[in-house]
């Protein structure tokens, strides 16, 4: 192992050196990068714009993979009931899923970290109350909370993200609180608090950095969870409408054709979903392993 270098780049280089010890995690990272790139450049890569109703032709409906449709190009992954090219639909669906996953993850991170920091900073009754609520929320499955919230707020992208955030911020709050309150009890924080230094300086300078490594791990996993949760909600018919397909709604849309042997309408979007979610989880696992302070080198 190389000697620890205490510059930002040095630390990053060390992190990478440790990370790449696991070839599976590296492969997963490559998958993620590829998926993200494909999602970003979907309009350039996809042969068809699945949102454009005019471009769809019902004669092309339910073509099996490999057939040539009226557009004159090969539908490598087949088409769905509306004649959408599935490859294009999956690229656009990935886009929607990733945006929702990352937005939900980011908002939940900010909200959760704030709540956790506030609890750790104040201590006493405020801390007890906040953490009691958080614990209660954590004991309920996220899917149930998201289900109720979507039912309450109605369908649509902002509502969906809000439901995902509400269902998941508690994980971030718990993690931040754990790391920050351990630090809070140390003498130097007490010392800093007794000086006229503004409280938020203590919060951001000392408490937050200590909570960061576990937060990064939780964030990775929660993005994957958000994507999976969104797909599940969409599958249950409580997510986004099919005019704005995410991977979940694509799968749901193809479900009815599964029994009649037209597997591709459901299966290919599902494979894209699975690859994405599993890859993020594998990377998250390795990041957890590398950042674990108790790990023996």
């Amino acid at each position: 192992m190389s000697a620890p270098v205490e510059t930002r780049w040095g630390r990053l280089a060390n992190f990478w050196a440790d990370f790449r010890q696991n070839p599976v995690a590296v492969a997963a990272l490559i998958v993620i990068v590829a998926v993200v790139l494909m999602a970003i450049f979907a309009p350039l890569v996809a042969p068809q714009d699945p949102y454009n109703q005019k471009a769809l032709d019902l004669f092309d409906a339910r073509l099996p993979p490999g057939e040539v449709g009226s557009g004159g190009y090969v539908h490598w992954l087949g088409t769905d009931a509306a004649g959408r090219d599935l490859f294009s639909a999956i690229l656009y669906g990935l886009r929607t899923s990733l945006i929702i996953g990352m937005m939900a993850g980011a908002f939940a991170l900010v909200l959760g970290a704030t709540v956790g920091l506030i609890a750790a900073y104040h201590g006493g009754r405020i801390e007890a109350l906040i953490m009691r609520v958080i614990d209660l929320q954590l004991s309920l499955p996220a899917i149930l909370l998201a289900l109720v919230l979507v039912a309450l707020l109605g369908q649509g992208l902002p509502q969906l993200v809000a439901a995902l955030v509400a269902a998941q911020y508690a994980y971030f709050a718990r993690t931040t609180h754990g790391a920050a309150s351990a630090e809070r009890r140390k003498d130097y924080i007490e010392a800093a608090l007794s000086t006229p230094l503004p409280a938020r300086k203590v919060l951001f300078r000392h408490l937050l950095p200590n909570a960061l490594p576990p937060l990064i791990v939780v964030a990775t996993v929660q993005v994957a969870n958000s994507i999976a949760l969104e797909a599940t909600l969409s599958f249950l018919g409580l997510g986004l409408p099919l005019t704005q397909p995410s991977l979940g709604s694509l799968i749901s849309n193809g479900f009815q054709f599964l029994l009649s042997g037209r597997y591709w309408i459901s299966i290919y979007p599902g494979i894209a979903l699975m690859l994405t979610v599993v890859a993020i989880n594998l990377v998250g696992d390795q990041v957890r392993h590398v950042l674990n302070p108790r790990r023996s080198r």
Binding site: P141, I143, A151, A228, A231, G270, L282
Partner: protein, 324 residues
Amino acid sequence: MIGFLIQRVLQAVMVMIAMSVIVFLGVYAIGNPIDVMIDPASSQALREALIQRYGLDRSLIEQYFVFMNNMLHGDLGESFIYRLPVISLIWSRFPATLELALTAMMIATCLGIPLGLWAGYKPDSWSAKAIMAFSVLGFSVPTFWIGLLLIMTFAVELGWLPSGGRGPVSNILGLNLSIGSLEGWSYIILPAFNLALFKLGLLIRLTRAGTTEVMSSDYVRFARAQGLSEGKVVGLHVLKNISIPIVTVFGLELGSTLAFAVVTETVFNWPGMGKLIIDSITVLDRPVMVAYLILVVFLFVIINLVVDLVYGQLDPRIRVKAAS
């Protein structure tokens, strides 16, 4: 011990009251259910009559107290859609969900603990690595998607098992259950396995983590130094030590399995409570939603309480703390 018990029960009651308020207010904030129930063209008089019948003209607080009062008398209201008492509606769906969840938990336990033990006992073997990879799949791949794959493989391609539905039921101990007949099993096995996968992944990881920790402990070294056989070391020391987290998780996860059944029931068209709640949400059948949620929260609170008590029985160190 009694003081500990009373404290926990009081806490549980507080949680229940708080949740009932939240659920009630939350659910009743959604649009007007009357619009869903009746034809928009129907007369104003019919509308008013219905509003009065369901007490929707009264203030929210009044409605809540009426609701609570009724609930304490075992009356959770009447479904807007089915026009049946919610309690009997949910109760009629309950056995299906219960047997699904219990079968799933059984599958998860019977596979998860031995696999986790093995993976923790021989962490460097390739079989242990395969088990761990499987566990990652188990809890990261969405349940509904695995359900689809199971249907495609075993129902569509191989044609071995039915693709959904519940099949014949027989009356066991007053409940209508599928697991009384072989044909019933052919219907329950796929959804139960589907529901089990997440818990299976979790249980494997948990058991493995516990096993590696115990295997590297001084007391296992000491037990080996006494000449205990490896079977005895695992059977006596490892199993007893990992039983604590496993019982906790098993208990807590029973509740979440009931909740997760929502997804599996939809995929396999299994006529349980989960299917009922999804249908109720799409048609805004408020009383069913409220009753289901309160019931689930109630289950969670009870399970948490029981797990806490069992935990104390299993770990002598906690028992002492609670007693002093």
